[in-house]
């Protein structure tokens, strides 16, 4: 009897450990704060986290004078959105500049438009941006300007994904594959449809 119980418990344990997580990206539900900020969008309008309620949101910190990693990441996200078909309308990618000195709404607008319709550029005062970065424990730093006044910006590789109620749900990064992003976004968006 005891042996049967033990076997039963073992079987239960095995079933638990094999219960597949539905997510291919990192599940951060309950571990990161809700989407909240006061910033300016790429049309110069003030926006807050609440402006994006009802949409699944991907938040990425970058800067436009970044010719390699940032556009590569945005191109990746754009393909994932295209894979979603009509569901992409329920998603917004927020490209939050950590370089407000150069990233005016106009520059950001031209930049995000080059990638696709569901990407929004965000900027703000250095203090406003720092507040959002601190909220998600995101680091960034500026390199020394060269003779032409150009400088590099080091920035977090993380992509934070929030559900339609603004709750942090998933964490991706620039190395997450398009297939992983597509899979999880599809799941997250379809679960939230009425």
């Amino acid at each position: 009897m005891r042996r049967t119980l033990l076997l039963f418990l073992l079987a239960l344990l095995a079933a638990c450990s094999h219960a597949p997580s539905p997510w291919q990206l990192t599940d951060v539900r309950g571990h990161l704060p809700d989407l909240r900020f006061h910033l300016t969008d790429d049309r110069g309008r003030p926006v807050t986290g609440a402006s994006f309620r009802g949409k699944t949101v991907l938040l990425y910190f970058g800067y436009t004078h970044c010719p390699d990693v940032c556009p590569t990441t945005l191109a990746h996200l754009t393909v994932a959105l295209q894979n979603l078909g009509p569901l992409a309308r329920e998603v917004r990618v927020l490209f939050l500049s950590v370089d407000p000195g150069r990233d005016t709404p106009a520059v950001l607008h031209a930049y995000v438009r080059a990638f696709g319709p569901y990407i929004v550029g965000l900027t703000g005062t250095p203090a406003e941006i720092a507040r959002v970065a601190k909220r998600y424990r995101v680091a960034y730093s500026y390199g020394k300007p060269n003779a032409e006044g150009n400088y590099e910006v080091s920035h977090s590789a993380a992509i934070f994904i929030f559900d339609a109620r603004g709750r942090a749900r998933l964490l991706a990064d620039q190395q997450s594959t398009v297939a992983q992003l597509t899979h999880d976004l599809h799941l997250l968006v379809s679960r939230q449809r009425p």
Binding site: D68, P71, A157
Partner: protein, 155 residues
């Protein structure tokens, strides 16, 4: 399989080197500057923002060749750059030179080595081709046509 296939090639190389040494003096050997550049493309960005240039460099010669710089009439400035991940941060660094070993291939690809192209001329737009001159130490400059792709980077 690959090892077997390369054996005759290695033998041919070994046989060819003494001949080459006789034919050319010990100083700079332009004939040995055989870098083949393929898949050269630029990711277009708007608003005069810097763009990334990518390519695959194959050294068909018998000695290491160093790429030391590039320039183009299509851009105010071109720099060799490398993106790196350091402590969860994505960062970019200028690179003085990139060595391509004999028989080896170095790829300039998103997330790694890239040409940082600054101050694009108006003619640089998706679908266009832009001429970029690559400079290798001890070799003549090599002009390469880069295809300008849109921001998505799709061919």
């Amino acid at each position: 399989m690959k090892k077997h296939a390369s054996l005759p090639a290695a033998l041919a190389l070994a046989l060819a080197i003494p001949g080459a040494a006789i034919a050319a003096p010990a100083r700079a050997q332009p004939h040995d500057c055989r870098v083949r550049v393929e898949h050269a493309w630029v990711r277009w960005l708007p608003a005069g923002l810097p763009m990334g240039g990518y390519m695959s460099l194959h050294n068909g010669g018998t000695r290491t060749v160093a790429l030391t710089g590039a320039r183009s009439t299509g851009f105010d400035g071109v720099m060799l750059h490398r993106s790196m991940r350091r402590g969860g941060l994505d960062t970019m660094q200028p690179v003085a030179a990139v060595s391509i070993p004999a028989g080896g291939t170095v790829r300039f690809a998103p997330g790694g080595y890239h040409l940082m192209l600054m101050g694009a001329a108006a003619a640089v737009k998706p679908g266009a081709r832009v001429r970029i001159e690559l400079r290798f130490a001890g070799c003549a400059p090599q002009p390469v046509l880069f295809r300008v792709r849109d921001a998505s980077g799709r061919p």
